[in-house]
Symmetry: C2
DNA sequence: TCACAATGTTAAACCAATCTAACAAATATA
DNA sequence: TATATTTGTTAGATTGGTTTAACATTGTGA
């Protein structure tokens, strides 16, 4: 099963890894464990699972490197996160934390089709007419 | 743990049970198993868990009865489902199946606060201004 | 009413994800 | 450089949810 779909959990790990690598060039397991509020053991486990599915390259005690496939996936997730957060902030007028929290939860379950429509909606800022 | 929060899975069972009871007065495990695409054994298991948390009353081979608490919870879930479906249909212009599918997925994870805002948004059909 | 079909339950196994505790490796510092 | 601290790994247990297969109960129609 090296190519199975990513669970919400693994998506969170990947997103976290990508964000760190993107901003500081690297990331350590302990940081991920703090960010996601899980044990170091769970991180080790997740790294194995992500590597098995070829979203990252990684060896025992080694540095974490995202693959092409991983970057693509992470960017998709982050794109969803960004648009969803904007929707909750700008359209539903939630504060940033609540908006981000909902984005986190929904980014893993919204369908591609629905997300594309939402993206369009946010770009166009379509005007609704009261019926 | 008789009062723990309901997992997405259990929410689906409860929603299914409520809908059947509401429309035909009762429901059997086999129907739930068909609706949710799980084995009869999983249904039995879910009924135990729902009963333990006091969302339903139920005994071995007996009829399934929803408690006050269960009705309240089910109606909350269905309210979310309805509003979310409308949003995806009317605002994002998805077809009914895709709208419902997304509602199903999101109804279990959206926060109360976000949902209340969405509900308001759908009621007011607020006009957005392109920035 | 009795046998068969349908439905429900149980046990045992499985899987993903988590944890703790013990241990190993790497890093920092005296 | 030797040791102490930090970080990472492993093993083993736990939890929730699922399955299949065997069995129990209920319901139905000859």
């Amino acid at each position: 099963m090296t190519n199975a779909i990513l669970s919400s959990g693994l998506e969170d790990y990947l997103e976290c890894i990508y964000n760190h690598i993107n901003s500081t060039g690297g990331v350590k397991a302990i940081q991920i464990s703090k960010d996601l509020n899980v044990s170091r053991a769970s991180v080790t486990d997740a790294l194995h699972r992500l590597a098995e599915k070829q979203y990252i390259n990684y060896e025992r005690y080694g540095i974490i490197v995202i693959t092409e496939k991983g970057v693509k996936k992470a960017e998709e997730i982050i794109d969803k996160h960004t648009i969803l957060t904007k929707f909750f902030e700008q359209v539903l007028e939630l504060d940033i934390d609540e908006a981000s929290e909902n984005a986190c939860r929904i980014e893993h379950v919204i369908t591609e089709q629905a997300f594309n429509k939402l993206k369009l909606f946010m770009k166009e800022k379509k005007v609704l007419v009261k019926t």
